[in-house]
């Protein structure tokens, strides 16, 4: 483990803070200094409020001094993807449409992090409205991969993954609609957790696709992911899709869970398009689990071939509707010198949205239009049910599924100019969103070129503790997660 403060874990820093060997202000200053040093090369942040972060850190130190520490996140700087609302802070979704928008309210996860004593630090870059797999679709410019500045960090939560990998935050939140946490986590060599749909409130998360979106953490270790999940999970009366379930103390529960596990290998996830180095790293991970007396079983998810089509119908349909509110009337970008309300709408939206967002709005509008609904949206929902059933069938025999997170490691900026080629980046991750399952990406090696590789573990609905325990067992047998890029 690198010794610099900005590369330590929440668990470790929390212990130092609790012991009085470190203050939140010192820690926050270290993170600000690191950011000052490397952010110019990474461009992970859309905005930063140093004064506000230091004030929160001072407040945290005061609480701790008064014996009112709020738990393991007390005083820890946490970055948020710029689609999660924080009162009086910008909320842009990396879109020109919201370039000047300041949120007047807190997302539920924001309120929960504040309640947990975290220092909220920075608004992190993403593909505009979370649509993309490289963070190149940001209206404010791309984020670069800390392991290779000529490459992308993945997306859409590229800023959240890159900031953590660069040591400019100690944990971050992202959102995952089709892989937007797990794929950038894999490409940046960090842990990324997408919780079960409904475990974490979506209130205050700018919606891309409501039935697929889920907020989750990026952390350096699985244990840190458990700490973060414990802070943000739980039923929220402001989100009707929020699941009523008791949230355990994941960190404690995790410590009590041990294998051996029954692990399924879906054969459909190892086919054409899988980079050989990625494939080899994942095979080694399988061998590791086998060596730990886990039962490894090949399983089939026969509807996998329909995932991409299904996803791009449902996600775009919901997005076309969710993004209708960005019209230039009440807030956001408004075109100048409009002639009438139609002109206001069409020009504001034409100017405010980028190409990929427009592409998906048009596609989504088409699949919902009169005469096409049954053939596209309704059918996609039926296929979605089959895809979920595939997973549930597999869980009759295994505890979790193991796959590569991304078929390829980080690619060059500008390399995937064809939208379809970009969509294929999510081929191993979107099925999880369609089925509403929890999944985590953990570092599982490096390419010969030094690029991180991610391993995806897919769990059963609302059994995050077990999923994290399986990931923790892998992590404890390896040191990939301790490596940091040379910046």
């Amino acid at each position: 483990m690198a010794s610099a403060l900005h590369y330590q874990t929440i668990a470790g820093l929390s212990a130092q803070l609790a012991a009085g060997r470190l203050s939140s202000v010192e820690l926050t200053r270290a993170v600000l200094a690191r950011t000052e040093a490397v952010e110019g090369r990474i461009r992970a942040f859309n905005s930063r409020d140093e004064a506000d972060a230091l004030k929160q850190a001072a407040d945290s130190d005061a609480r701790r001094a008064a014996g009112r520490s709020r738990g393991p996140l007390e005083g820890i700087p946490v970055g948020l993807k710029d689609v999660i609302a924080v009162t009086d802070q910008p909320l842009t979704a990396s879109s020109k449409m919201l370039a000047n928008f300041i949120s007047p309210y807190d997302a539920t996860v924001t309120a929960k992090l504040k309640q947990a004593g975290a220092v909220l630090w920075g608004r992190l870059n993403l593909d505009e409205f979370a649509m993309g797999s490289s963070t190149e679709n940001s209206a404010f410019g791309p984020t670069r991969n800390p392991w290779d500045l000529t490459r992308v960090p993945g997306g859409s939560s590229g800023g959240s993954a890159a900031a953590l990998a660069a040591g400019t935050a100690l944990a971050t939140l992202g959102s995952d609609t089709g892989g937007s946490i797990r794929q950038p986590a894999a490409l940046c060599g960090v842990v990324g957790l997408k919780p079960s749909y409904g475990l974490v409130s979506r209130y205050g998360l700018i919606a891309f696709a409501s039935s697929l979106d889920q907020i989750g953490p990026f952390t350096r270790t699985v244990e840190d992911a458990a700490i973060m999940l414990g802070a943000i999970a739980g039923h929220d009366p402001l989100d009707s899709t929020s699941y009523r379930t008791d949230v355990p103390d994941y960190r404690t529960a995790l410590a009590g869970k041990r294998g051996p596990w029954r692990i399924g290998i879906p054969k459909e996830y190892f086919g054409e398009g899988l980079d050989p180095e990625v494939g080899a790293a994942v095979e080694k991970a399988i061998a590791f689990y086998r060596s730990q007396n886990c039962e490894i079983k090949e399983v089939s998810l026969p509807h996998t071939q329909y995932c991409l089509d299904t996803y791009y119908i449902i996600a775009t349909a919901e997005a076309s509707s969710n993004l209708a509110r960005f019209d230039g009337i009440r807030y956001g970008h408004r075109a100048a010198d409009v002639t009438d309300v139609e002109d206001l709408y069409s020009r504001s939206r034409a100017e405010g949205f980028g190409a990929e967002v427009k592409r998906r709005i048009i596609l989504g509008t088409y699949v919902l239009s009169s005469g096409y609904y049954d053939a596209y949206y309704l059918r996609a929902q039926k296929v979605r049910t089959l895809i979920r059933q595939d997973f549930l069938n597999a869980y009759q025999e295994v505890d979790a599924l193991l796959t590569p997170t991304s078929p390829v490691p980080a690619f060059k900026l500008g390399e995937k100019s064809d939208p379809l080629a970009m969509y294929l980046c999510d081929i191993y991750t979107i099925g999880v969103n369609l089925a509403g399952l929890p999944a985590v990406s953990v570092p599982c090696g490096f390419t010969t070129g030094g690029l991180p590789i991610g391993l995806q573990l897919i769990g059963q609905p609302f059994r995050e503790t077990e999923l994290l325990a399986i990931a923790r067992d892998y992590e404890q047998g390896h040191d990939w997660h301790t490596r940091v890029p040379s910046l």
């Binding site: 909320l91 919606a207 989100d239 899709t241 509110r325």
Partner: protein
């Protein structure tokens, strides 16, 4: 050729709830613009809707009152169109699974005379669904301003079958529907506040034809009278077009109640594709039997059922019951007073209530709830009259004082010395003799067979009795003397 009109109504009724349909902010009317808003109403980035269960309760109750089938699951859809009064640019509504299906509204058509009950009919309903209201645009010379206070208010849409055939039926339908909604406490249905709004679909066809003609939608009918006038006007317009050899164009027309003129707003070619789909932010809500039976137990008796019961149970005539059912509280007042007055006195209670109390309330520009005369006092007054203690004309004086002070009739009688007439037959007979003697002309006319001439003697008798004589007794005495 003879033509008939076919009319279907789409009625929007704002549901009376404390908060809005999908967020906690208050619902209300007449507040400063954009004060009844929050991040959800304004559709800020990231917000989510949460259903107001009280609004769903109200609509299920409305459906139960109107005999609808209640769907086992309440499902929400997005109806998508861009307009500045709609903050999300979609409206959360119910598309293919409305919460209420079928049912009907009982109506009464005008009778042959005011005091004769008209024909009753049941206008079948297609559906009732729940949705959210939109904001309000105010247009100025160069720009428009939008007020989102109304946006997100729970709104039910009640759709009738195309089963009405005249403006009068539509008028009766709306009157009855409004009364039912007010009875159920579902809405105040104040059209001036936009709590009840009506669009009408109107077509004409040759009598005997079963297919529907091309329909025209009439919008912005903002009073029940304007609905009647607008429909009558539209039927005439369509018939005139056909008589000229023209054809009806499917369109939406705006009827101006003030000028009585309609004009085309848009034709069918501009119809919207609303791209309905299930709202992924809202989970379907299961409506079980226990829920329905709880609401069923809260449903009041419907106005026409109550009228029939008043007529049979209390023998109150049609004209009086027609008034008594206009307001649920008035009917409750009546029943309370009738119960306190005792058997056989309900009709007198009804008469006093409708003819006297309501008149005084109207003159004083107050309402029943704040009237000082309570059912017990009205019952007491009726009993004093029926027992002969108080004469009808004296009773009016007493009643006026009751209305002004809220005192009981007994207290007023005591204070003012207003007891019933002394029944001294000798004194009364003397007054009658004096009156006859004082008017030989009337005497001659009466003797010649003019029955009404007897009334000419009654005034002087009453004057002599200082108003405290029993008119029946006066009449009987005069007839005896004149015989």
């Amino acid at each position: 050729m003879n033509y008939e009109a076919v009319i279907g109504l789409e009625v929007h009724v704002q549901v009376k709830t404390r908060s809005k349909m999908f967020t906690r902010v208050a619902a209300g009317y007449g507040h400063e613009p954009n004060t009844l808003t929050d991040p959800v109403v304004l559709a800020l980035p990231g917000v989510l809707p949460v259903m107001n269960k009280a609004a769903l309760d109200a609509v299920i109750k409305a459906g139960l009152m109107l005999g609808c089938d209640i769907a086992p699951v309440c499902k929400w859809d997005r109806k998508q169109y861009f307009y500045p009064d709609s903050p999300k640019n979609y409206q959360i509504s119910q598309y293919d699974q409305p919460i209420c299906l079928g049912g009907g509204v009982e109506i009464e058509l005008p009778g042959p005379a005011r005091n004769v009950m008209g024909e009753h009919k049941r206008i079948p309903l297609t559906r009732i669904h729940l949705e959210e209201d939109v904001g309000k645009l105010n247009h100025f010379a160069t720009d428009s301003l939008v007020d989102y206070n109304r946006a997100g208010t729970p709104l039910m849409e009640i759709v009738s079958e195309p089963a009405m055939h005249s403006a009068e039926e539509a008028y009766a339908y709306l009157t009855s529907l409004r009364a039912t909604m007010v009875y159920g406490g579902i809405s105040d249905c104040d059209m001036e506040k936009g709590q009840l709004r009506c669009d009408a679909n109107i077509s004409v066809r040759p009598v005997g034809e079963t297919r529907l003609g091309t329909k025209v939608e009439l919008k912005n009918l903002n009073s029940i009278s304007f609905v009647r006038d607008g429909i009558a006007h539209e039927i005439k317009r369509q018939l005139a077009v056909i008589e000229r050899g023209g054809t009806i164009v499917q369109e939406t027309r705006d009827y101006d109640g003030q000028t009585g003129v309609s004009q085309s707003l848009r034709s069918k070619e501009m119809a919207h594709d609303y791209r309905y789909f299930p709202d992924p932010d809202l989970m379907p809500v299961r409506v079980d039997e226990a829920w329905k039976s709880r609401l069923r137990s809260e449903c009041p008796e419907l106005p026409f059922d109550r009228q029939r019961r008043f007529m049979s149970q209390y023998q109150v005539p049609y004209t009086i019951t027609s008034v008594l059912i206009l307001d649920r509280a008035l009917g409750d007042y009546f029943e309370e007073a009738a119960r306190l007055a005792g058997p056989g006195r309900a009709q007198a209670v009804g008469n006093w209530l409708v003819n006297d109390l309501l008149r005084e309330i109207g003159v004083a520009k107050t309402d029943l709830a704040s009237a000082k005369v309570r059912p017990a006092q009205l019952a007491e007054l009726v009993n004093l009259i029926e027992s002969g203690t108080l004469l009808a004309n004296t009773a009016r004086t007493v009643f006026a004082k009751m209305f002004a002070t809220g005192d009981s009739p007994a207290a007023i009688i005591e204070r003012e010395g207003l007891t019933a007439a002394p029944t001294d037959a000798g004194e009364l007979e003397q007054w009658c003799r004096d009156a006859i003697a004082g008017n030989p002309k009337a005497l001659a006319e009466f003797k010649a067979g003019k029955e009404s001439a007897i009334n000419a003697f009654k005034g002087p008798v009453m004057k002599a009795a200082k108003g405290r004589a029993d008119p029946k007794q006066v009449d009987a005495t005069l007839r005896r003397l004149l015989a």
